[in-house]
């Protein structure tokens, strides 16, 4: 299939110019707008008017969005929906086998990501015009934000691992800069210590925790190169695979194949010679290392601790970077490298397992948080867990689907919380809110829509994506272990109940009931400006309709199953679950076809395999006995019912405890006695303290007392200082020779001449070897 795709891409790009479609060369413009914007704000921003900076920054991202949309539409109308790729120049080259192009790849997967990134970014930029209106460093904010979008697009559109890595580090940098945006914040003196203000510390924490993940990512890249480059591995299989890949990619010479380029690596793995096994152990290792990187960036256990602290940044930043885009980069990366994961079931197990654990674990913490942004932060961690469940069980397209819907509703929630915080004069504690629906009607409506979407209530986008993920998890059976799939499913389901519950809780405590601060005071507070409202409405609208591009298979009337989105993304991702189901289907599972709407049973999910005939024809190792005797359609339907059920239960429980009437059910204030369980959850299982005690403090102490005060001060510094002192002494001595007296100068010249002559003649007459030279030129 990729073969045809590439062929089509080649022919399409040739004809593109004639047919009025954009050419791949223009892809760079998607990246250039934010970069140009960032440069301008960085240099001139201080001198421009606030409105100018904000509007033009939004416009820059808007133009990126329009370009992305243009390319997406061009792909749609293009024959075969071929991807747009373009290699601009060789970025790094070293020797014959190492050459990294600077190339962009706008394919089915990155198209989705680019649209989400630029689209949501545009909305959030517009929102920020209002939100940051009082900030003195307005220009700096938009400069960082534009820079972030640039790096994010580089991460998404780069056609090789190294470009992705540059983008990866770049977004990390911007995240750091923006978390600590209010670095001189004095609002939280308690958190300020000798290492900086609370915000600065939060930025640092995010940066350092991400480094741990990046270490894994880099190791993964190294392993990929070492395993799949002919430079380091010239085994017969790899050479055959290269030959096959060259054929598939239509390149004349295997030297043009770069294993760090996504399409090339994929071709190499797909062209692995028949009859010889892929190095599964190494692939598993690669998969796990890459996932360590993903876990750092996407805040999964055990590296999630930075994300809640990252809420110290301005709220638009939380919405854009720490909910909608950057933190999903890990999911995108795993989906991008799906061709490796499908060959390494153990690595998939790790991904799915960690994802499920995170989904449940973070949801429990979310239950007892009182800071509105912290609740959303843990909810983000939890939802990212769902995405990793999806990519872990091999349903990559569904992971990306949830990524997209999550970007909509979570951005909407964060922006809503921003509106509330802005209204409440930067108070973030939900115990101080209540009854705000009266004052912030639009925020309230959009919030409720988004909250229900995340809770998974039907007809909203979150429902479609989360439901599908749980369904795929249920069918997951790595190495034939069904219990694993069921366990993941169970944890996901439990997380879903909790999600519905805490979202209802935070909604009720914020918007419903009666205000917990005097109404006359509330009445004097300023309402958010129009730009903020506009952004909320756009996102809420997307949170409603976002799910309809991929309705469950059993809903639809035709065999396509309405799964437009997933089919689209599966052009790149190799969907393992799809394969299994396909096999099951051919293995004799009953067809239970009833066309209809809503609660009627539908198609059997054949749609997933639309793009993957080739893979389906290969016999598969496991999964042939899955769910025999039961219609897949029926199963899917039952699972859907189950997830709707838990969502409703969660919401109902939340209503029961915190609902409209129960204005008294405010969480206990600081210092009040809590039940042990409550205390444990509220203190986030003391994980931060655990890390502090077991990792951070020992390392800190070791660095301080051994490395710094021991080795650095006593050995290195002493050596360097001594050297510097010595050098300066010599310098002073040399200066004393510089007397300014001509005779002295002449004497030195003559002395030099005499020395030179002595050397000449000593060498010539006595055949005295010049020092160092062994056996001279004679």
């Amino acid at each position: 299939m990729p073969l045809e795709l590439l062929q089509l891409a080649a022919t399409a790009s040739q004809t593109a110019a004639g047919s009025g479609l954009p050419t791949g060369r223009m892809l760079i413009w998607i990246l250039l707008f934010p970069l140009i914007g960032m440069t301008i704000w960085g240099i001139l921003g201080k001198r421009l008017r606030r409105e100018t900076v904000g509007t033009l920054a939004s416009l820059a991202i808007g133009l990126s969005f329009i370009f992305s949309l243009g390319f997406f539409l061009a792909m749609l109308v293009r024959e075969g929906h071929g991807a747009y790729t373009y290699t601009y120049y060789t970025w790094i080259a070293a020797g014959k086998w190492f050459s990294i192009p600077f190339g962009l790849r706008f394919d089915h997967l990155s198209a989705v990501m680019a649209l989400v990134v630029t689209g949501v970014s545009t909305v959030i930029h517009i929102y920020s015009i209002g939100y940051m209106r009082h900030d003195h460093a307005y220009w700096r904010f938009f400069c960082y934000l534009n820079l972030f979008v640039f790096f994010m697009l580089m991460l998404v559109l780069g056609d090789n691992l190294l470009m992705m890595f540059v983008g990866w580090e770049g977004v990390g940098l911007c995240s750091y800069l923006l978390i600590g945006f209010w670095y001189d914040d004095r609002n939280h003196p308690a958190e300020t210590n000798e290492q900086g203000t609370g915000n600065a510390i939060a930025g640092k924490k995010a940066f350092i925790v991400n480094r741990i993940g990046d270490f894994g990512f880099v190791l993964g890249i190294f392993f990929i190169f070492v395993t799949f480059s002919l430079m380091t591995n010239d085994s017969a299989e790899l050479q055959k695979a290269y030959a096959g890949a060259a054929k598939q990619l239509h390149v004349t010479d295997v030297e043009q194949i770069t294993p760090l380029k996504f399409s090339h690596l994929k071709a190499i793995i797909e062209s692995w010679p028949e009859g010889s096994h892929l190095p599964v152990m190494v692939l598993t290792l690669i998969g796990i290392f890459l996932f360590v990187g993903a876990a750092g960036k996407s805040a999964q256990i055990p590296l999630y601790v930075w994300l809640p602290d990252a809420m110290a940044g301005p709220t638009p930043v939380s919405a854009l970077i720490h909910a909608a885009t950057m933190v999903t980069a890990g999911v995108y990366m795993v989906a991008r490298m799906s061709f490796i994961y499908v060959e390494a079931p153990t690595a998939m197990m790790v991904v799915a397992g960690i994802g499920a654990l995170t989904a449940l674990f973070a949801a429990t913490i979310g239950l007892a948080q009182n800071d509105i942004k912290k609740v959303l932060a843990y909810s983000t961690v939890s939802q990212l867990g769902y995405m990793f469940i999806a990519v872990g069980v091999g349903a990559y397209a569904f992971g990306i689907f949830h990524l997209m819907t999550h970007a909509f509703f979570k951005a909407c929630l964060f922006l809503g919380s921003g509106a509330v915080i802005d209204f409440m004069h930067h108070k973030q504690d939900i115990r101080g809110y209540g009854g705000l629906r009266k004052y912030l009607p639009i925020t309230h409506i959009t919030w409720v829509i988004a909250a229900y979407a995340i809770a998974g209530l039907p007809f909203l986008s979150g429902f479609y994506s989360k439901d599908a993920i749980l369904e795929k998890a249920f069918e997951f059976a790595p190495h034939g272990m069904h219990w694993f799939g069921y366990a993941v499913f169970g944890m996901g389901l439990a997380g879903a109940i909790l999600t519905a519950f805490y979202m209802t809780r935070v909604t009720a405590l914020t918007f419903w009931g009666t205000p917990r601060i005097p109404e006359e005071k509330l009445a004097t507070f300023k309402k958010p400006p129009g730009t903020m409202k506009a952004a909320l409405v756009i996102l809420a609208f997307l949170a409603i309709i976002g799910g309809y591009i991929n309705i469950p298979a059993w809903w639809s009337s035709d065999h396509k199953g309405g799964q437009y989105f997933v089919t689209w993304v599966q052009h790149w991702t190799k969907d393992k679950v799809a394969e299994e189901r396909h096999f099951v289907q051919h293995g004799g599972a009953a067809h239970d076809e009833k066309a209809g709407h809503d609660e009627k049973a539908g198609d059997d999910g054949k749609a997933q395999n639309d793009g993957d005939k080739e893979a389906a024809e290969k016999p598969h190792k496991e999964g042939s006995e899955v769910h025999e005797g039961m219609s897949l359609g029926m199963l899917a339907f039952l699972l859907t019912l189950l997830s709707v059920g838990v969502a409703v239960i969660g919401v109902a429980a939340g209503m029961a405890k915190y609902g409209v009437k129960k204005t008294g059910a405010v969480p206990p204030a600081e210092g009040e006695k809590l039940t042990p369980l409550h205390a444990m959850i509220k203190n986030k299982y003391w994980i931060d303290e655990l890390y502090e005690g077991t990792l951070v403090d020992p390392i800190h102490a070791g660095s301080k007392y051994v490395l710094w005060q021991g080795i650095d001060v006593f050995i290195i510094d002493a050596f360097v200082d001594g050297l510097a002192w010595f050098t300066l002494r010599i310098g002073a001595w040399v200066r004393r020779l510089q007397t300014g007296l001509i005779p002295v100068y002449v004497i030195f010249m003559v002395a030099g001449l005499v020395a030179m002559l002595i050397y000449f003649f000593a060498y010539g007459i006595l055949e005295m070897p010049t020092f160092f030279i062994k056996g001279g030129g004679k």
Binding site: L728, G740, M756, Y763, G777
Partner: protein, 542 residues
């Protein structure tokens, strides 16, 4: 004689075209002198303009209408090859930038004399002569033309004691060095019967006993080719000539004059001396020394049954090795403790001559493409050095507040806060001088040290050249300290008071040009390097 005959004669023997840039510059110098004397009360800017036009025409002629190839003319006295072209360009560019820098500076130090322009032009003439000279006499002529102009330029501030001192010291010591140089030339002539460099190289055999003198050997009773005194004369001559050039490039231990002279001279002249004189002296040094040491090779290929007195290459190698090491180290160590920026730059220019000498010493032992690369690296370095050093001096000039004020390091405190662009330009120059990418200085050093490392692979010379590269790199590290010191003052120390820094157009243009070139060469060195390599290739005969 009929006209066509004249033309033919001219073409054959006095190809005027080959020295056209030189003639243009010399004519401009005379014109400026006349104008200065006859037109009174006119703005000096007019003279600057005339001079710049002259230099510009010469530059265009050099760049686009240079004979190229390996053309000798004037009976082999000058050789206008790509090597000469490269150094002619350096001389012309250095002269132009100096004039731009001086336009606003001279009134400030109350030395606004019209002769300044003529003298700079004449010095440029001398430099061009050194670049194209293919005869020791022409080289001497070039050195003297250049030096005498420089002596006067150093003392152009007639009312400043330091300037007078500078001029006098330079004159006395320069005369001393010139005497040695001339004596050396005489000795070489005595030994070989020629002063033409090409002929010198081809007459290797003469030196090694083909003079025909056979000597009766008392012990064996046979006549053999004598180890003639000519050889001693020649070696003595080589040493003296080396002294003459080493003085001009300020190599240790012939460098002692530099700090005093550089500090006393007007700053723009100091910059001109540091880049122009040095580059010209290197041109002559390379042309003479890399050529004549090929005697050894000639000897062996001629298969004369005679043992040469010594392998001149190895001896010179040893000398230049030591001189390069001393020059780099002493220059850097002395610069380290200076508190006056101008004096610091003066000392650092010694160190830079040392880096370039590394390339020369490396080129002595290499052959073929490797040697071209080493020589090309030196040429490239000198080009880069011209822009970064003149740029740095330009900023010093800009900061000058009449007399010698504004040159101290603390005068730069907080410059970045009130003159960010000037500070940024200075930062670029300092980074480049320290050899930090992506600036010209980094690329230059990189080529030189990589040439040293590649020479280290020559059998038996590993320790020799690796140590040279390592010492060079260590020196670069030392230099980072004092180059970053002004940056620290500019960016991290707040200003006690803001000094008046005037951004005059010509001066700013000069600094801007320097900045652009430093970055351009640093980012895209390929074009410049290929021109330098072309020059290096053209240098070697046969």
């Amino acid at each position: 004689m009929n006209p066509s005959g004249i033309q033919l004669f001219l073409k054959q023997n006095f190809d005027i075209q080959t020295v056209m840039p030189l003639i243009v510059v010399a004519a401009t110098a005379l014109l400026v002198l006349l104008l200065e004397a006859t037109i009174r009360g006119k703005s000096r800017t007019f003279l600057t303009a005339v001079s710049l036009v002259g230099l510009g025409v010469a530059l265009l002629l050099t760049l686009f209408n240079f004979p190229g190839a390996k053309q000798s003319s004037f009976y082999g006295m000058v050789r206008t090859d790509a090597f000469a072209q490269f150094f002619t360009v350096i001389a012309l560019a250095a002269g132009s930038l100096t004039l731009l820098l001086s336009a606003n500076y001279l009134p400030k130090i109350k030395s606004d004399t019209g002769e300044f322009h003529a003298l700079v032009l004449l010095a440029v003439c001398g430099m061009i002569l050194m670049a194209i000279g293919n005869d020791l006499i022409v080289l001497f002529l070039g050195i003297e033309t250049m030096s005498i102009a420089m002596y006067i330029l150093c003392g152009i501030r007639v009312d400043a004691e330091k300037s007078n001192e500078s001029s006098l010291k330079y004159l006395l010591l320069g005369a001393f060095a010139s005497a040695f140089l001339l004596f050396g030339i005489a000795l070489i002539y005595g030994a070989t019967g020629t002063t033409n460099i090409e002929a010198l190289i081809n007459s290797g055999g003469v030196l090694y006993g083909i003079s025909g003198i056979k000597e009766y050997q008392w012990d064996t009773g046979a006549y053999q080719f004598a180890e003639t005194a000519a050889q001693y004369f020649f070696i003595l001559g080589v040493a003296f000539v080396f002294l003459g050039f080493a003085f001009k490039i300020g190599a240790v231990p012939f460098h002692m004059w530099t700090p005093d002279v550089y500090q006393g001279a007007p700053t723009s002249v100091t910059g001109f001396m540091a880049v122009g004189v040095k580059a010209a002296a290197f041109a002559a040094l390379i042309r003479v020394f890399l050529g004549i040491v090929d005697f050894g090779d000639l000897y062996s290929s001629n298969a004369i049954a005679y043992q040469p007195l010594m392998d001149l290459k190895d001896v010179l190698l040893g000398v230049i090795w030591l001189v390069a090491v001393l020059t780099m180290t002493l220059g850097n160590l002395s610069a380290l403790i200076q508190t006056n920026l101008k004096r610091m730059l003066a000392f650092s220019s010694i160190a830079h001559a040392g880096y370039a000498l590394v390339g020369v010493s490396v080129a002595l032992r290499l052959s073929g493409d490797d040697r071209d690369a080493a020589v090309g690296a030196v040429m490239f370095y000198l080009l880069a050095y011209m822009f970064m050093n003149l740029g740095a001096f330009g900023v010093v000039i800009m900061m000058n507040r009449g007399n010698d004020e504004g040159e101290h390091l603390h005068d730069y405190n907080g410059l970045a806060s009130y003159r960010p662009l000037v500070a940024a330009a200075m930062a670029v120059f300092m980074f480049s001088l320290a050899g930090i990418p992506p600036t010209a200085g980094f690329v230059g050093k990189f080529y030189i040290f990589s040439a040293a490392v590649s020479a280290g692979t020559v059998e038996g010379y590993g320790l020799y050249f690796y140590s040279l590269a390592i010492i060079g790199v260590l020196n670069s590290i030392i230099s980072v300290y004092y180059y970053l010191y002004p940056l620290r003052n500019m960016y991290f120390v707040s200003a006690e008071r803001e000094h008046k820094v005037e951004l005059r157009p010509l001066m700013s243009a000069s600094i801007l040009i320097s900045t652009i070139f430093v970055l351009w060469i640093g980012v895209m060195p390929k074009g410049f390097l290929s021109r330098a390599l072309e020059g290096a290739k053209a240098l070697f005969f046969g």
